[in-house]
Symmetry: C2
Subunit: 126 residues, 2 copies
DNA sequence: ACGCTAGGTTTCCGACAGGAACCAACAGGT
DNA sequence: ACCTGTTGGTTCCTGTCGGAAACCTAGCGT
């Protein structure tokens, strides 16, 4: 009746679930989007992504790097220069990510409108 | 230079960013996936989604409801029965969500493999 | 000698996730 | 009449995490 197969990533620790939890994160989607058009520097991302802190950006990039989605290229220059780039595996995410961002662009206003419209007192419990 | 337009949802509080942050969340993606095939009861989702607690499920559903993506239908029966269903707006998310879950199914193993393979000491700073 | 730049880490504190226990409402058994 | 089971939800407590600001490293220009 459920319509789902038994391996449908509902199991808490299956690889698919872990993969989703890796990218279903407040900053990860935006960072991946920022990387989707080619190599970008740390500082560029800081300036590009409004509201992110260096700490969270580094943390997010490290996690993606550890999972093989992002490659970190540090040049031995002064001042230091570091570029981040999607790996081939990471590049397979561009499609899904862009679908999400396109959806957000198309429906962001509707979602915000609902916040003001919905509050009819519906009484969730008694 | 950047290749991004100025409205490219990098601004911290633009509707697109808020919409992404609404669904880019540990549980939200899995819950939306659980709803993607039709109305589901609260208890069904609890049994279906490994690892989620009643509290987090309720919280996630309420947030989606407030943003107009999910509709809550409570039947006045005993014991109580509550069904959750995607709204038309919520249904527009099925495509993006399924792309994500398909990606996760296809690449989950690769992502986990990278965790064991990568740890070459790369020296991120000095 | 000093400050600037660029990437990163450390410190501190408030907020939130998560689990367990509790609550409400009524049907049905005894 | 009383107790129990079912279902959905909330409350309480604690550990962890996010976020801002300060600090660190290393060379180059002046």
């Amino acid at each position: 009746m459920s319509g789902f197969g038994p391996d449908d990533f509902f199991l808490a620790d299956c690889p698919a679930r872990l993969a989703v939890e890796l990218i279903a994160d407040k900053w990860t989607v935006v960072v991946l989007y920022g990387l989707s058009k080619g190599p970008v520097r740390h500082g560029e991302l800081i300036g590009l992504i409004g509201g992110i802190s260096r700490k969270m950006l580094t943390q997010t990039l490290r996690r993606l790097e550890a999972h093989g989605l992002v490659h970190r290229r540090a040049y031995s220059e002064v001042p230091p220069r570091v570029e981040y780039e999607l790996t081939p595996l990471g590049a397979t995410l561009i499609g899904p990510i862009h679908m999400l961002t396109e959806w957000a662009r198309a429906n962001g206003d509707a979602v915000l409108d609902a916040l003001d419209t919905d509050p009819e007192p519906v009484a969730h419990n008694g």
